[in-house]
Every structure is written in C-alpha cells, then in structure tokens.
Subunit: 306 residues, 4 copies
Amino acid sequence: MNFSYKNILENAYHEIQQKDNDGKIATYIPELAHVAPSKFGAHMTCLDGTSLGIGDHIEKFSIQSIAKVLSLTLAYKLVGETLWERVDVEPSGTKFDSLLLLETYKGVPRNPFINSGAIVICDILISQLDNAKEAFLHFVRDLSDLPNLTYSDKIADSEKRTGFRNVALCNFIKSLGNIKNDPDDVLDFYFDMCSLEMTCQQLSHTFMFLANDGCKVSDGKPIITVNKSKRINALMLTCGFYDESGEFAFRVGLPGKSGVGGGIVALYPDNYTIAVWSPLLNEHGNSCKAMKLLEEVTTHSEMSIF
Amino acid sequence: MNFSYKNILENAYHEIQQKDNDGKIATYIPELAHVAPSKFGAHMTCLDGTSLGIGDHIEKFSIQSIAKVLSLTLAYKLVGETLWERVDVEPSGTKFDSLLLLETYKGVPRNPFINSGAIVICDILISQLDNAKEAFLHFVRDLSDLPNLTYSDKIADSEKRTGFRNVALCNFIKSLGNIKNDPDDVLDFYFDMCSLEMTCQQLSHTFMFLANDGCKVSDGKPIITVNKSKRINALMLTCGFYDESGEFAFRVGLPGKSGVGGGIVALYPDNYTIAVWSPLLNEHGNSCKAMKLLEEVTTHSEMSIF
Amino acid sequence: MNFSYKNILENAYHEIQQKDNDGKIATYIPELAHVAPSKFGAHMTCLDGTSLGIGDHIEKFSIQSIAKVLSLTLAYKLVGETLWERVDVEPSGTKFDSLLLLETYKGVPRNPFINSGAIVICDILISQLDNAKEAFLHFVRDLSDLPNLTYSDKIADSEKRTGFRNVALCNFIKSLGNIKNDPDDVLDFYFDMCSLEMTCQQLSHTFMFLANDGCKVSDGKPIITVNKSKRINALMLTCGFYDESGEFAFRVGLPGKSGVGGGIVALYPDNYTIAVWSPLLNEHGNSCKAMKLLEEVTTHSEMSIF
Amino acid sequence: MNFSYKNILENAYHEIQQKDNDGKIATYIPELAHVAPSKFGAHMTCLDGTSLGIGDHIEKFSIQSIAKVLSLTLAYKLVGETLWERVDVEPSGTKFDSLLLLETYKGVPRNPFINSGAIVICDILISQLDNAKEAFLHFVRDLSDLPNLTYSDKIADSEKRTGFRNVALCNFIKSLGNIKNDPDDVLDFYFDMCSLEMTCQQLSHTFMFLANDGCKVSDGKPIITVNKSKRINALMLTCGFYDESGEFAFRVGLPGKSGVGGGIVALYPDNYTIAVWSPLLNEHGNSCKAMKLLEEVTTHSEMSIF
C-alpha cells in the first residue's frame, strides 16, 4: 500500500508543481507576506510507521489556524461535553471572520474552527488553567514530540499590530456575554496560539493521535477518548475549511484543517495523516495547491472516508 | 458482526421507545399531521445480505426530502460536474428554507438538499428530460425494485395548497435567473417528487447503491461512478440535515438525509444502510427518535466513518 | 413668489437638460423599456392656484410605485391606525425588494412603500372592499379629477409575465401569515395598481390633497384627516425613495415618492406639489434627472421643510 | 402663540406624568443606572425669546448620543461635503449597534448618528484637529454659552469599562479601512464626547442654531451655512432615533435626536427647540415619556414640519 501512496503522492506533487501558480499570499498578517510563494511540500505519516515526504516538507511554516484543532482538543479534554454550551458544532456557511451569525446566535460561535469559536476556546482555556499559554505549549510539545517548540514572537507581534478584526470579534462576543476573561488577555493568548511553526513532517506527526483513536502513536499515550477523537474528526470534516468546508469534503473526502499560512493537515482514520504546505491561498483563505494535491491523492488512491 | 448489530439495534430501539416523546409532527403540510406520533421503526440492510428490521419498519411513510438525494443522483448522472454551476456544495448554516443566502449568492443555492437547491435540481431535470416526472419515477422504481411505486396525490396536493414558502423560493430564484422553466411546472414536479412513500425496509434497500460504490446490490447494475457516489455521500454528511448537519456528523458520524415526514436514511460505505422513522421532529425539522437511535447504534458499535 | 418659482424651475430644467444622460431605463418590466430616454418634464401646482409646466409635462407615463401613496391613503382611510399592525413605518435600509427584513420581522413589511408593504396594502384593500380594483380606480379618478382614468393592460400584463420577484414576495409573506387572500388575487390587483399612467400635470394635481391638510383643492372635499395627511407626508419623507430615502431628504428636503417609470412627485405642505419625469434611473431605482431638478428647486428657493 | 404652547406643554406633561411608568433605565452603562426613574422634565426655547420649562428641566443629565449632532456639526463645518465619503446619510433600518450593515457597506456607516457613524466622525475630528477633545469641548461651550462645561469622567470611565460593543465596532471599521487613527484614541474621544451633561434648558438653548438657519441666537454668530443646517435637520428626521426614526417622524413630525440617558431634543425650524428628559427607555433605546410628550405637543399644536 505504501509503495502506491508514494507513487501517487509523487505524481500528484510533480503534476501540480508544473502548473501556474494561482492564489495570493495572505497579506493581512504582514509577517506572513515574506514567505516565498513557490514553497510547496507534503508529508504523509502512516499508522504502520511509514513516513513519506516530498518538496519543502522539512521547512517550518506558520501553522496558524491549524493550531485551533489542538486548542480544541485540550479544552474538550478538560471540560468535556459542557464545551458545546459555549460553542456550536455547525458549519458557518459564511466567511471565516463573519460577525453576522454571532449576532443571530447570541455570541455562541457556530463552531470552534472559525476565528470567533477559537477565541472562545482560548477564553475557556484561560479559565481552566493557571497559565494557559504555558500549558497549551506544553500540551503541543508533548503531542509533537518537539520539546523545544515555542511561540513565534515575530508572527504573534505582527498579528497583534494588525488583527483589528479579531479584536472586534473578541469584544463583540464579550458584549454578548460569551467571553469571561479580559478580552486583551484572550486575544494575547489567541495570537500566540496561532503563531506556532512546524514543518509538514512535524505537523503530520503531531496529528497522528486523531488517526489513532485518540492515542499518540510514538508512545501509545491516550490523549482523548475514542469518542472525542471521532467527534473532532467530524468537526474537521464539516467545519475545517471556513466556507469551503463542503467543497473540501466533496473533492477530498477527508477530515482536515487549513491555516492562512498555506498549510493543510488531513487524515484518514486508522490509516494516515498528511500535511501539505503551499502559501498561495484562494479566495476562501485555503491553500490552492494543498487542496489540489489532496484531491489528487484521494481520487487516485480511491481512499476517502466516503 | 451482524449478530452484534442486531443486539445494538434492538437495545437502542427499546431504550428510546420507553422515553418521553419529544418533538412535534410537521403540520405545515396538513396531510402529514394525520400520522400517529407513536410510529417508530428502523431497518438496516447490510452489503453481506443481512437485513434487520424492528418496530414499524414495514409501514409506509412520506419520505419527503429524502427523495432529494435521488433526484440529485439522477441529475448528476445526466449533466455531470456542470451541475455545480447551478447549485453549490456548501452547508447553508441557516434554516432550511432561508432566502438570505440566495440573495447573497445570486440565486445559486448553497447545496442540493435545502429546498432551494432541490428546486433547482427539478428545473435541471425538466430541461434534460422529455417527461421529468415519469422519468424520475422510473428511476426510483428501478433503484428500489418497486415497479409499482407512484407519487402520492394526497400528499402532493396537500403541499401544493399550502407550500407558499416553496412558491416564494422558486419565483425568487427565477427572478435571479437560476430557474429556466416555468416556476409552476418546476414546483409541480418538486411537490410530486417529495410525495413518494416507502417503508424503512424499502428505503434502506433503495439507498444501497451509495454504500456500494454507485452500483445496485440486487442486480449489480452501475447507477453512477464510484467518484460521484463518494461525492453524494460527502454532500449528505455536510448538508443532509439542514442547519443541524454538523450536529448529526458530530453525534452519528455517517452520511445521511432526513425528511419532515420523520424519516432518516444513513449509510456506512462498504457496510450498510439504515432507515429510521419516527414522525416527531425537533426544531430543525429532523426526527428526534431517529437521530437518537442512529447515535446509539454508531456509538455502541464504534462504527462510524470517523 | 410664483414668478421666482417659474424662473427657478426653468433655469434648473434647462441646466439639467444640457447635461449628459446618466442612468438606465428600467428593463425588468419589458413594456417600460420602450419609452424614449430623453423624455423630461416637470409640473408644479401651487395652493394659490398657480400651475407651472415645462418640457414633457403633458405626456403620460407609467406612475408605477407612486400609486402606492394613493393605495395607502385609501387603506388608511378605511381601517385607521390598525393598519400599522400589518405594516410598519420604518425605512428599510436595504434594497427596495429585499426579503431579508421580512424574515427578521415575521412578515410585517418595514413600510407601505417598499414592494412587500404595498402588496400587504393591496391585501387589506381586497379584504375591505367588494371589488378592490374598481374601488381603487374610482378613488383615484376622484382625486385626480380624471373620470376616464383606467389601468394600463399593456403595462400590467408585461409585469405579470415577468414579476417573479413580486410573486416571491407575496407568497413569502403569505407563508409568514401576513397575507389573508389568495396570493394570485393580491398580485393581480398589485400589478394593475402599479400600471396607472398620468402626466406630470395630472400627477401634481392628484397629490394636492396632501399639501392641503387632506382636502382636495379643486372642490374642497375632505379625503383624510389633517393628522393622517401629515403622517403620510412623514412616511414619504422617511421611506419614499427605497434605500435612497435619506439621500432625498438630505438633498431635497421634501416628502416625495418615486416610481421606476422615472416619475417623482414631491410636495411642500401648505405650498405646492411638483411632479417630475425622466425615465433614466440610478442604481437605487430613482430618476436621476428628477432628483437633480428637485434638489435645484429647493436649494435655490431655500424652501424645504427643514 | 407662546401662551398656547405653555398650555399644551403643561397639559401634556401632567397627563403623561400620571400614567404608569413604562420602559427601563439603560443599565449597560453602569453609571446611568443610578438615575431616579421618576425624573421628568421639558424645556422649550422659542426664536422670539420665550423660554418655557416644566418639571426637572433644570437638572443635569447625561446627554449621551445627543452630542453626536454636535460632533457631526463640527466635522461637517471642517471638511464639508467630503464628509459623506466616510459616512452615509441613510436610515439604518436595524438596531442601533448593528454590525450587519457595516459588513455590507464595507465599513461606511449608514449615517452619523448610529454608534458606528459617530465613531467615524470622532476619527475625522482627530485627524482634523490638534486636540480633538479640547476643540470639541470648546465648540460646545460656545454653542451652549456654558464656559465651564466639562466631560463627565464618571460617565466616560463607566462606559470605557463596559463598552465592549463599541470597541468591537471601532476595531471592525478599522479592519475595513474606514478608521485612520488608533482605535483606542478614537474610542477614548468617543466615550468622552458621549459623557457631556446638560439640563433640558441648556440643551434646548444649545440646539437653537439649527432652528435659526445655522446661526447662534444669543449672539447671532454663524456656526454653519443655511444649507448645512437644513441637511443636519433632515438627517435628524430620517436617522435620529435608531430603528425607530420612522416612528418618530410619523408620530411627532420634527427633526430630533435621542440619547440613552433618556433625553430627546427636537426642533421646529424657524420656530423653537424643545428638550425633554425621562430616563425610562423603550426597546429601541428612546425615552418613552419624552416621545409621548413630543407627540402630544405637535398633535395639539398642529405644528409639525409636515
């Protein structure tokens, strides 16, 4: 099986590599604008131990919103199903930073992967933990087996200077009663959380617990229950790609999550995880090449959850 | 495996049967209001040939919107990927009969399973076929192996007299340019299409082709390609339950489709289909007991696509 | 005073006449598209008996939505303040045919001058009168002193064939419970009501009762009370120009009403009425030249209600 | 004339005084919640020099949003008609602090009297003036002939601690490009601007320039041009009462502006200004008793602009 995956991955990579570059680099976080648009890498980690990489797969990039899956995992682990009183599990149907639905749903974000939802998750973690920033970093270091992982001050500071939309979101939710802590503290954590950097290889490795019924593969340690793990996967499938989640499920057919740094991680439960990176984004804020590569891989392998 | 499914299904059925009846019968279609609220049945059909039924599983009910999966299948088969120029593949994020998003997206419904989308699918079928009503009936008769299946005039007439919201939707889309035929003709077909009646057993049997890579199980006949079959399943998962699609994916974890008659069909690719019926609906228009039963089945069997 | 009005009107007319023609003729009612775009006329009728006309002021045009002021007047006269349980008195803030706010406000249109509101007014008239069409025509014949005025079948039929948006609006309100009669009957009356044709002179004459505390000027006959007359004027000021009502109040400073036929009628209480016609519309559906002319007249005369 | 106004004012005051107290005190600014709900005063200042007061008309209250008319006046005076590139002149049609329309109109608030619009006006003043806070205070001191008027730190601080919705609005507009200065600076000025306190007598006196073609009455000094003065009046009529502006125009028929402190100022051009105060607000944020009193005064005097 892995031999064929290798072929499929390489063929898809080279085919897409040759095509014209569509999309635009995210510029609303100034620091992200410095990345070379031609970067393109992918890495697949299989439950049987196989690990396949291609292109810029061992170069770090800003994982941005992909980290929201990890902060959700920690919060879900800590507070259980009561979490869903603070944030819903429905696709938003609209732009990723929309304020429309917040007004309709009285401050309860539609899901934990749009910005408003991830901000509420940060608020929950601050309430639950003595030092949420440290605790979350520690949690991700453990998941990733990267003991030296740190927040990127450069990225975080860049976003803190320009993230007016997120400041608006957080204060709006506060005004609607669904932020319990000081909005400045919540935003400070949120921007740090989004500043993590990983390579495709590391990212693929980090997400293996979700392909493995909630247990780390490297040491077998249980992170969350099977049931919670399945539910996080379901959420990634229905809500992982902003208002393009339906399209991703339709074309790729795997649970996944994108970030405006150009990364996408996707996973096939009980089989593999795959992380892809190319910084050029489509109008929905998702990486063009990464989506295309994943579509090719699942189409040619005929291996999707559907 | 099937022995354990039998136990799981029966245990779940009896447990839920004893509970209080939540929900309300759909009353906006007067004819549906005559159904006994206590009806409750389920039927599971497995690829290995096993067939398991319980409760009112051989009593006919109005499948309503569940038929939208079948009309989509026929239209997708006929026009291929150009279909998606007329209707999108995204969850709507809002109430099932919302006009809001139609205005935003210039007449292109968010997906083929909300009313507006299904109306556009009817319009496409009318353009493609000499006699869409007859051709669609013929198509469903073949899929279901029910040569005598007919539209229910009683149900269709009842909705024709009261379906002002659907008249509004169809004319609104026409005004936005995405209905090509006479709105009255499109609505006439739409109301007939939604009037089909089946038992849980028949419904479960009819949907087997989507669990079997696009081929009928009874005679092996290919209905649609593997790829299209997977994509329809993806659509059911992200959009099959109106603005509760995320919740269904989260709790049940299977592609499925509900109807306001109280039916739900769900399927586990390469394994089985299951049809459940109980007419009491929650505020989102989905059957309370049917959703609960499906949650129990996938939780206890630990068999979901995630 | 009237001498100076004459100068002001003529100067403004000639100045605007020479300018480039902006705007577009309404094409969504096919019959309206046949009008020559260069048509331009204005007529002012003063309480002291003076009557001033210029340009195409004695040529008939389709008054369209301007008739909504007259149907409101009749309904208000018949049912009094209970009218406002069925339609509100607030500017809509959005496009003239928007469905958004109807959903928010449960079928109660924001005001009687947007299409949805005028449709509800037609429904009220049908409930109140044996033959609403005849009765309304009789009412307008009396107001206008035009005993031979009739509906234009050509215009009405043209709109009946293409007015899908209005069919949608009426059925949508019906589904929300705020239409009591058959939607087809309501629409039939609505399209006829909008098909009336008058010259600028006739239109200016017809609206004099609103500048004269609710009494006809030609024969002194009371049509509505002073209080109701003032309130209709207030409604014209806040809601008479779709989502450009604020702009009209700001630039012109008079109560008025526009129609997509290119007509505008405005009035200065206790002083005069003025009707202007030029078929080229701006993006809000209001006549460009008519608005400009009215702005010039009130600016140079320094006579506005503010 | 003034004798009859005296009677009308007194009769209306006593009649309304006896009625049950409807409405609620604004509690979202904690400092406002300390005001006695029974307060009720009114003051009318006529162009002929007459000055009529009743009830608590010489007790200070927080004028809140009424100050937005004064900041608009100063900004309009400074930048002229280019002002309207930054803020529109249309009624919003929705709740006073809505974010919906900002998204639709790309950061351009619908009018200068909703919070978002007033925040943009503050931004303009900061860009235009060396010390906007001082300059605005100086401007209002001059208009009001109150050389010792100051901002209320208590009120401003109270709102700064709780005004999350306004923080959201300002940052949201900043993200859409229509705030040029630091959002914190803009908000600091905005909260101070809204903290001014006046009595009904002082408020009525302060607004006389708008009833007097733009010139102060006490010393004849021109503040703004006739044309600008008329346009500010038009804006008050169409937009002065949030999403109840139509209702106020309909029932009262005068340009006016309300504040959540319970004050309303209204004016009849070339005749008088009137300020009314009662802290109990209706659901739209406007004072119940003040609206009722004004309706009585214009109905019984038959003196409105319509």
